[in-house]
Amino acid sequence: MKKKRFDLATLPERSAKGIDERFHASTPLRRMFNKVFPDHWSFMLGEIALYSFIVLLLTGTFLGLFFDPSMEEVKYDGVYTPLKGIEMSKAYESTLDISFEVRGGLIMRQMHHWAALLFMASIVVHMLRVFFTGAFRKPREANWMIGFLLFWLGFMEGLFGYSIPDDGLSGTGLRVINAITQSIPVIGSWAGFALFGGEFPGTVIIPRFYILHVLIFPAIILGLIAAHMGLLVKQKHTQWPGPGRTNKNVVGVRMFPGFAMKGGGFFMITFAVIAAMGGLFQINPIWLFGPYQASVISSASQPDWYVMFLDGIARLWPAWETRFELFGNGYTIPPIFWAAVVLPGVIVNIGLLYPFLEARFTKDKEQHHLLQRPRDTPVRTGLGMMALAFYLVLFASGGNDVIAQHFDISLNAMTWIGRIALLLAPPAAFWISYRIALGLQQHDREVLAHGVETGIIKRAPDGRFYEVHQPLGPVDDHGHGQLEYEGWVVPKKMNRIGALGPAIRGFFSPLEVEDKEARKGKAKELAGKK
């Protein structure tokens, strides 16, 4: 029998054909691969969240192999001397074992925690980008809402995550959760008992949070991420205005190979940054906190950064307590209820409904696929900065004792600084950013009208000096430019319009510029061939 020659070159083609004959995948895949993504650095911020979520799933699975979410009391008999013989829960013991005895356990734990902080941080940064560029406008309101909910789900997921090791700090957090639950008027005590299965701390809270942390919330987050991405593909990505870009097209690179390669590379860099942080920076050293006991508390107890603003409002809120009677029973509304239940409720609702609120106030019912620069929407920019200032004051107040200690400021003064700043900083932020936005806009308009400053000073026969301006386009009888204001970058220096040296310099230069010489060579080659 004649041996058939194996042709390696045609193997991919043949196998792909074979697959397509069976699954008819080429049409949808081609559609998918040809999907175009516009290209701008700020469009990649959300990807950081996606990639850190993948790292979270991977490291979390590893940790799940060794973590025991049990509140059963045991005597520690591991390698960490200062805890030898101490009574602790199995949850804490197994976390210690992950940190000190499981091979690679500590770096996995630290990567998991850093990835969680990065997940939340990139969600916030991404959300700011979407907000300030108006990417949430019709038709993308639903995706804004999903993204906004993802922040809060991540918030809860993180809270569950750092609660389950049952160390001193996490127990303090559980105590706060218990207090917040109990602060709800009328049903509070019952809700607290239901959550903790009786008196705090009880024996069920850690197994409960564990299941929420490893199964229920990750599943919801995964589902919402899928919906977020699905909607992104369906509704297409927004893009910046600019030459050739309209409300009806998308200009960018194809999904495959261009975008996929970039995305894959970016995933690896994100992974690398998380791994580097996990290896270089110690995070949540639970062995220093000891096992949780209800009688133990530490000064400067903070939650993770994304929860810190809630701690901040709890620290700043005045001690206003209300008592009232209902059906012959006395009830109390403690101050923490306003700070930790009502205020977050207000924040969630305003944030969730912002796209509709803005559309309503601006009477805008159009479809928008082009982004707006922050300077072109001064009110929105002002509102966003206002919210950011509010958040930052609360965030800083969440660590006001740490600031007080390390910067030698009285803690009482820090509380009052926080209270006053919480009222004054947001309006100040609004006004300042509103004025800056208008100023930047005005400068763009001025350049469009009068041209770019050339740096050439002329002296007229009458002795008058003036600077020569280079118009960007045709001018009218008065010498004013006739270009319309488009809400996009206006060149303001001569080198930006091709004079006086290269337009872009340095590390972040496009490949095209670097290849200029090479391309010139190639062009000569071609010319020579002719």
């Binding site: 701008h40 650095w41 700020s42 469009f43 950081i48 001397t81 200062p82 805890l83 030898k84 101490i86 940190s99 000190f100 500590l106 630290q110 925690h113 850093w114 902080l117 990065l118 940064v125 001193g168 690179v253 261009g258 970039k262 970016f266 860099i269 994100t270 940054v273 942080m277 270089l280 920076f281 110690q282 995070i283 949540n284 050293p285 220093l288 000891g290 006991q293 133990v296 508390i297 530490s298 000064s299 400067a300 107890s301 903070q302 939650p303 993770d304 950064w305 994304y306 810190m308 969440g398 004792d401 740490v402 200690q405 009285s410 803690l411 009482n412 972040f508 230069s509 496009p510 490949l511």
Partner: protein
């Protein structure tokens, strides 16, 4: 008392009851006080020795140049400047002076640790000063030996007794109105013991009936362990906790990745 004087005019029975109760209370107090005075004979009211030892004489000389302006003659204290030192013992002197807190640089929320003043650089001089205060007023003394504690038990006690001000990681913490619990890193074993024994600044006293000598040594063993323990997870970010971790994720993580986005987008 004054408000109850009006009511009884309307309800005389109540007045009688109250007077009776007051009389019984007075009797009980007198009895308890008398028994106490009988059982606890003058252990604290012992007169200071009339003559000072040579060492204490040396200490008195030091006292008279460095301490007297605030603590007054014979360590009796000066109003609004410095408290009386009668009964604080040599432990308090050795803690305050060896940690540089005394002599104080300025009146403030509390004395801060600083370099020991040149006059007291020789530990013998601090001991002499302590001897002087000890001889004129008595009080707690340092045992001079602090080793052999059990760090695990010390850690347990530290978390219950110390962490609420000094923090789990002994990095210190803010108290109200500019007061603070200092970080324990610079304190040596004798100072740790002295602080527990004498309760300097805003710290409560942990007398031997609250934390036994053995328990104090356990706590010292734990704090010394933490001081010398490396951070197994890498750079410890000051062991401050989520506050610095939150800053790190933005300063390091987000910054690196935003530069990466600029880099990737710049290359297309």
């Amino acid at each position: 008392m004054t408000s109850s004087a009006e009511q009884p005019r309307r309800v005389p029975g109540k007045l009688r009851r109250r007077l009776g109760a007051a009389a019984r209370m007075l009797a009980a107090l007198a009895l308890a006080g008398g028994v106490y005075a009988a059982i606890m004979p003058a252990s604290q009211a012992e007169d200071a020795p009339k003559t000072l030892s040579a060492r204490a004489q040396e200490g008195k000389a030091l006292y008279d140049v460095s301490c007297i302006s605030c603590h007054g003659t014979n360590a009796e204290g000066v109003k609004d400047r410095g408290p009386s030192l009668i009964g604080v013992g040599s432990a308090a002197v050795e803690f305050q002076v060896s940690s540089g807190r005394m002599p104080m640089a300025a009146q403030g929320a509390q004395a801060e640790r600083k370099a020991v003043v040149p006059l007291f650089e020789d530990p013998k001089k601090i001991e002499a000063l302590g001897q002087y205060i000890q001889e004129i007023g008595g009080g707690p003394q340092l045992p001079g030996e602090y080793g052999g504690g059990d760090p695990a038990n010390g850690g347990r006690l530290f978390r219950v007794n110390c962490a609420q001000c000094h923090g789990y990681t002994a990095g210190g913490g803010a108290l109200s109105s500019g007061k603070f619990a200092p970080p324990l890193d610079p304190a040596n074993s004798a100072q740790l013991y002295g602080a527990m024994l004498t309760g300097p600044q805003n710290m409560p006293v942990f007398g031997d009936n609250q934390l036994t000598v053995k328990e104090k040594k356990d706590i010292i063993a734990y704090v010394e362990y933490m001081k010398n323990d490396m951070d197994p997870g890498g750079y410890g970010l000051g062991r401050i906790g989520p506050a610095t971790e939150g800053i790190a994720i933005f300063v390091v993580g987000i910054t690196l990745l935003v530069f990466t986005t600029l880099w990737i987008a710049g290359k297309s």
